[in-house]
């Protein structure tokens, strides 16, 4: 870890935390709005009258505002903000190219704002998680390349010879997302509001789920693992359980994940060999996923009392448990015979949200709670009690949500398969819709609790920043410690502290 002894000499250079604060505030705003769109969409599935016959408020238009809002606006802002924070701390250097870094902030906000104001008006490619039309995709590509330039330029300026593992994950996230975004969005525009993809039919399906799955892999996993590898040891106040293991998992994770996309298309018209390859790699994926989760959890080994002291640590540990559970479940769901039951049902929705509300949102919230006071030069968050309230709102909402959707999904899958003794189908499709209604109501309540928790977090951040805002007349000076002397080669990774 990069924390230097208190007696470290100080360099005249300062960390660029203004950009981190901007992303932090953007994450709070987008978190609330993205989750609000989700709650609205959930309510519309339970009570269709809530579509109000208004085109831009209708479920099919608004759902992508939820997915894009939480993944790219909330998650993206949190990832870019923490990335800029972590890369400076772990390299002991100020962020390179400050102007370009400002551009990545405003460019990203412009792109997500444009996306979220065009999609409800039907300006969409209708490719899941890649909905925005071509002109927004171009802005995203430019911003993303700038992000890569700032990040790698900062790494090049580092004062520590070894590149800390969190940066590997952030680096892989940046490179892979650029590749995925560009390849999947290749299209020929007809007008400002319409384009056709250069791929059609089964090829388009393959490209889209190579993208879709790896948006999960690199946006929602690798990026957030980068966050995890910095903030979990910080919050546990002890080094990673095994540094070497984190590196082994890194190489396994980034090389295996990219092959797993076809498990979204099992039993479909996609050629069989592709389906089998996708399924095999999805099962292999269990290893690095469980490895990363174990490494994070074991980092708390001997420091479990931190769960009592720090709500941020509680968020992180719960996040890791859900990462473990969701990746295990994902590998199982990619097995063809299980997928036959789960695919196209709400089980998929349960799985996604166990990953998204459980893993992604909670590691983000834990990390933001850990980072915000430091980036805002405050001793701690404004209210610890509010963090506790947020934790319990979030966890109870999460459990209500996923249990309802698991039950609904398993029920739908079984109803669709059920046959009478004479071999005819037992249930009409409509019967499964009617049977799902109560679960949609429970899911809505779960989502409402998660949203309420997010509002509490935004309130808490606002007041934490409020105290800092008073000091904003002079910039917050954060001294950069001089690099610690490199350890001898035999000590890499450094020996674990003795445990009592």
């Amino acid at each position: 870890m990069s924390s230097a002894p208190a007696a470290a000499t100080q360099s005249a250079e300062t960390y660029d935390d203004h950009i981190v604060r901007l992303f932090l505030m953007a994450a709070a705003v987008w978190g609330v709005s993205g989750m609000f769109a989700g709650v609205l969409a959930a309510a519309q599935l339970a009570w269709p009258a809530l579509n109000f016959d208004i085109s831009w408020l209708t479920y099919s238009r608004i759902r992508s505002n939820h997915t894009f809002g939480v993944i790219f606006a909330f998650g993206g802002s949190a990832l870019m903000g923490t990335c800029y924070y972590v890369v400076q701390r772990t390299c002991h250097v100020r962020l390179a190219l400050g102007g370009l870094a400002r551009f990545t902030f405003w460019g990203w906000q412009l792109a997500v704002l444009l996306a979220m104001t065009t999609m409800p008006f039907g300006i969409t490619q209708s490719k899941e998680y890649a909905e925005p039309e071509w002109f927004i995709d171009l802005i995203i590509a430019v911003v993303w390349v700038s992000f890569a330039v700032v990040f790698f330029a900062t790494l090049l300026r580092r004062r520590i010879q070894h590149i800390y593992v969190a940066n590997w994950y952030y680096g892989a996230f940046i490179i892979a997302v650029a590749l995925l975004h560009i390849v999947n969005n290749l299209a020929i525009p007809v007008s400002w509001t319409k384009s056709y993809p250069i791929y059609s039919g089964a090829v388009d399906a393959m490209v889209q789920w190579w993208y879709g799955h790896n948006a999960v892999a690199f946006f929602l996993t690798a990026g957030f693992l980068g966050m995890m590898y910095y903030f979990v040891p910080r919050e546990a106040k002890q080094p990673l359980w095994s540094y070497r293991f984190s590196i082994v998992n890194f190489w396994a994770l980034i090389s295996i994940y990219m092959w797993a996309g076809p498990h979204h298309l099992l039993y479909s018209a996609l050629p069989d060999w592709t389906q089998s390859v996708g399924m095999s790699f999805s099962i292999l994926l269990m290893m690095p996923s469980l490895g990363s989760a174990a490494n994070g959890l074991m980092t708390f080994s001997g420091a479990w009392h931190r769960l009592r002291e720090s709500p941020a640590a509680k968020f992180m540990v719960t996040a890791l448990v859900f990462y473990l559970a969701a990746t295990l479940e994902g590998s199982l769901m990619s097995i063809k015979s299980i997928n036959a039951l789960s695919h196209y049902t709400d089980w998929t929705v349960a799985h996604v949200h166990s990953g998204a509300i459980g893993w992604v949102a909670m590691i983000t919230m834990g990390s933001l709670y850990a980072m915000a006071p430091r980036a805002l030069d405050r001793p701690e968050m404004h209210s610890k009690r509010a963090m506790e309230v947020h934790y319990w709102l979030h966890v109870s909402g999460l459990l209500l949500y996923i249990i309802a959707m698991w039950a609904a999904g398993a029920m739908q899958g079984l109803m669709w398969q059920a046959t009478n003794p004479d071999g005819s189908l037992k249930y009409s499709f409509l019967a499964s819709i009617a049977a799902t209604h109560p679960f949609y109501v429970i899911r809505f309540l779960g989502g409402l609790l998660v949203l309420a928790g997010m509002v509490v977090m935004a309130w808490n951040l606002w007041h934490t920043a409020g105290a800092a805002r008073l000091n904003q007349i002079k910039p917050i000076i954060v001294p950069i410690p001089e690099p610690i002397p490199e350890p001898e080669p035999e000590q890499v990774p450094p020996p674990l502290p003795a445990r009592g």
Binding site: G201, A202, D204, Q208, T348, T419, F429
Partner: protein, 207 residues
């Protein structure tokens, strides 16, 4: 750490090398899975009787895409007994060669629509799109009343057909000029119903 001789140590200390290795490793999966399909796409012959969408159906398909119907309706009958029993013959690659973007979907909040064509009358489809619960009280599908009010723009549809021709769809000049007559005074609702009624039709007519 200059003395560090572990095999991977160089990667851990060199940003350029680290980035290159990452690029190589993340490219392999896509290259292996996408390239063969992309290179062989031209060998997938369209299903017998399958033609590029005519002007009205293309306009309808683009309405379907704009409203993001795929979020609740799949167009992929999987090769599973209970699926073919409910929806008909499995969807083949050859049936979707003109689909940009593909509309297989990932979630069935409503039923699969691959072979919905001809299952209900035009009048049923129209009313169902405008007000689903009038016909199916348990449905949770939204109403789409604005489709009835919006007229089609033939110039836009012709531009779309030209772009699709550039991408390889075999439209003739006559197909494109026919768009004017085919879409004149038609609403988005007419177009969407025409699209839905054509779904799965070639496979049914095939010998």
């Amino acid at each position: 750490m200059a003395h560090d001789t572990r095999p991977l140590a160089r990667i851990e200390q060199n940003v350029g090398l680290l980035a290159v290795v990452i690029v190589v490793l993340v490219s392999l999966g896509g290259l292996a899975e996408i390239t063969p399909l992309f290179m062989n796409a031209h060998t997938v012959a369209p299903a017998p009787g399958l033609k590029p969408y005519d002007a009205l159906r293309l306009a309808g398909r683009d309405v379907y895409v704009r409203e993001a119907c795929y979020q609740c309706h799949s167009q992929m009958i999987r090769k599973l007994r209970f699926e073919t029993q409910r929806y008909g013959a499995p969807t083949e690659q050859s049936e979707v060669v003109y689909d940009r973007p593909f509309q297989w979907g990932s979630k069935r909040t409503g039923p699969d629509l691959s072979r919905i064509g001809g299952k209900y009358s035009d009048a049923w489809q129209r009313l169902h799109l405008l007000s689903p619960r009038t016909l199916v009280p348990e449905s949770n599908m939204p109403n789409y009343p604005w489709l009835e009010k919006r007229k089609l723009d033939y110039a836009d549809i012709m531009a779309r057909m030209r772009v699709l021709r550039r991408l390889g769809d075999p439209y003739t000049d006559a197909d494109i000029t026919a768009a004017y007559e085919a879409t004149k005074d038609k609403t988005e609702l007419d177009a969407l119903v025409a699209y839905l009624q054509g779904l799965g039709a070639p496979a049914k007519e095939a010998p």
